[in-house]
């Protein structure tokens, strides 16, 4: 019998969870929502310094497919987010969450794509840099794209007000 036979996905998610807990990158916490289901995670992301998101702590969910890591998870913020690459329902739209050949937003071919060599940690780090540097080439929230391009002060102000909301202020 295969010693390792059984769900690759579960084994991998457990390894990733342990690694993330032992060596958590700054500004990121993530783990399964309950012990019963390793395929639903919750993450908390701190707004990067020197960005309008600074000071905020943003909760998000990660939903993993049964064939993870062959296919990527879906990531969704569960708080209000105003950002060019986040849909209004909170779904994050960045290249690392898409396998090559899947081009909903026509990412440039050189951008980082999903494959099993990626990980939850790499996704969350990409999301951190996405918060710091929106990509207005592949917009998910058109309104946020427009404001980000045309009036950065206004953009920062809207973001700061959502940040205050997530903190319950």
């Amino acid at each position: 019998m295969h010693k390792t036979m059984g769900p690759t996905a579960l084994r991998r998610l457990m390894t990733e969870y342990r690694e993330l807990t032992l060596h958590a990158p700054e500004g990121i916490t993530a783990g399964p929502t309950t012990e019963e289901n390793f395929f639903e995670w919750e993450a908390l992301i701190e707004g990067p310094q020197d960005t309008p998101y600074e000071g905020g702590i943003f909760p998000a969910t990660l939903t993993f497919p049964k064939d993870y890591p062959l296919s990527p998870p879906v990531m969704k913020f569960t708080c209000e987010m105003f950002h060019p690459n986040i849909y209004q329902d909170g779904t994050v739209c960045i290249s690392i969450l898409h396998a090559p050949g899947d081009d909903p937003n026509m990412y440039e071919s050189s951008s980082e794509r999903w494959s099993p060599v990626q990980s939850v940690e790499k996704i969350l780090l990409s999301v951190l840099s996405m918060l710091a540097e929106p990509n207005d080439e592949s917009g998910a929230n058109i309104e946020a794209c427009k404001v980000w391009r045309s009036d950065r002060k206004d953009f920062d102000q809207i973001v700061r007000s959502t940040v205050r909301k997530t903190l319950g202020l």
Binding site: H2, K3, T4, M5, G6, P7, T8, A9, L10, R11, R12, M14, T15, E16, Y17, R18, E19, T21, L22, T29, G31, P32, E35, E40, E42, L44, I57, P59, T61, T63, P65, K66, D67, P69, L70, S71, P72, V74, K76, Y87, D89, T91, C93, L97, H98, A99, P100, G101, D102, P104, S109, S110, E112, R113, W114, S115, P116, V117, Q118, S119
Partner: protein, 330 residues
């Protein structure tokens, strides 16, 4: 925030949880369309695709899309994959080569003639599912089957194969892959190879039809091909187009499931595993009636007859050479 993460699992509970988990087998394979739909944002196109394909479209008035949770979408995608899996196993039973000719009964004369000519030296073929992974899967199955069939007569083939797979770990580390990213695939591949000692042909086929095992093996060989290309950039980067770097090429075309392979991946895998391949090119080219064979050779000495793959535009299957054509070599 009510976020209370469960305790950190240590090695022991992980193993326990892995062996006792009752997750149903997922018929996971990387059908590009399915992968695309899964990865897309919720509420947009994939919702409709999923619903329609499942025959459970609940789309109401125009512009109204059914509201599905991420969980429901993933479940539906899984059902689509399962349906596809029932139609074509990942690796099929071998069939008489002339069965292939029947596919072209009302079609191209050129194909029929070529298959007829091919049947002088080859008697059987085995299909690999056309999911973009067919080359890697066909390669792995053909190699492992060869080793299994020779387990008594040529046990050294098995020892060499085990050593070769063990060495791929060093190659992957040399190419800067993280252990976390490849160890599960590596383990499954090595264990399947070790199991060949007591496997029957049916058991080998069952293993390759199990998507957990089969896709892990495919993924391992994808990473091996990628690692070989990355560690031999000087030789292969000049063949890349549009100023692409080798890292970009590998992440776009080699490391992700379902991405089709081209000549460079065949060369890489041949050289990384020291296994020679011959590819029979069955094309509709009418200027020749013979099938062209293209050899892919390792840099090291060839120690067993080449694995033979059948290529039809866009797809690889396994071919079996008639035994009298192999006499004296194995």
């Amino acid at each position: 925030m009510n976020f209370t993460p469960p305790p950190i699992p240590t090695d022991a509970p992980i193993l326990a949880a892995t062996t006792t988990a009752t997750t149903t087998s997922s018929h996971a394979h990387a059908d590009p369309t399915v992968a695309a739909a899964v990865a897309q944002p919720v509420g947009a196109v994939p919702t409709i695709v999923a619903a329609e394909t499942m025959g459970t479209a609940t789309t109401g008035a125009q512009g109204q899309e059914p509201q599905l949770t991420d969980e429901q979408i993933l479940t539906q995608m899984q059902a689509i994959k399962d349906e596809e899996a029932n139609l074509h196993p990942l690796v099929d039973r071998s069939v008489d080569l002339l069965e292939l000719a029947q596919e072209y009964e009302n079609g191209s004369e050129t194909f029929k003639t070529k298959i007829q000519n091919l049947s002088d030296t080859h008697d059987r073929m085995r299909r690999s599912r056309g999911d973009g992974n067919c080359f890697y899967r066909a390669f792995a199955f053909a190699w492992f089957e060869r080793v299994m069939l020779a387990i008594k007569s040529k046990p050294e083939l098995h020892a060499t194969a085990v050593r070769t797979i063990e060495e791929t770990k060093d190659l992957l580390l040399a190419a800067q892959f993280e252990l976390l990213a490849f160890e599960d695939f590596y383990q499954v591949t090595l264990e399947t190879l070790q199991n060949l000692v007591h496997y029957t042909s049916d058991e080998l086929l069952t293993a390759f039809q199990n998507d957990e095992i089969s896709n892990s093996i495919v993924m391992h060989f994808r990473l091996v091909a990628s690692a070989f290309l990355k560690t031999h950039q000087d030789e292969y980067a000049p063949f890349l187009e549009f100023g692409q770097t080798m890292d970009e090429f590998c992440s776009m075309h080699v490391e992700a499931m379902g991405r089709e392979s081209e000549e460079m991946m065949l060369i890489a895998l041949t050289k990384a595993t020291h296994i020679s391949i011959e590819v029979a090119y069955l094309s509709g080219n009418q200027s020749a009636v013979e099938v062209n064979f293209l050899p892919f050779l390792p840099d090291t000495a060839v120690y067993m007859p080449p694995l033979v793959l059948l290529y039809r535009p866009g797809h690889y299957d396994i071919l079996y050479r008639k035994s009298h054509c192999l006499e004296g070599v194995i």
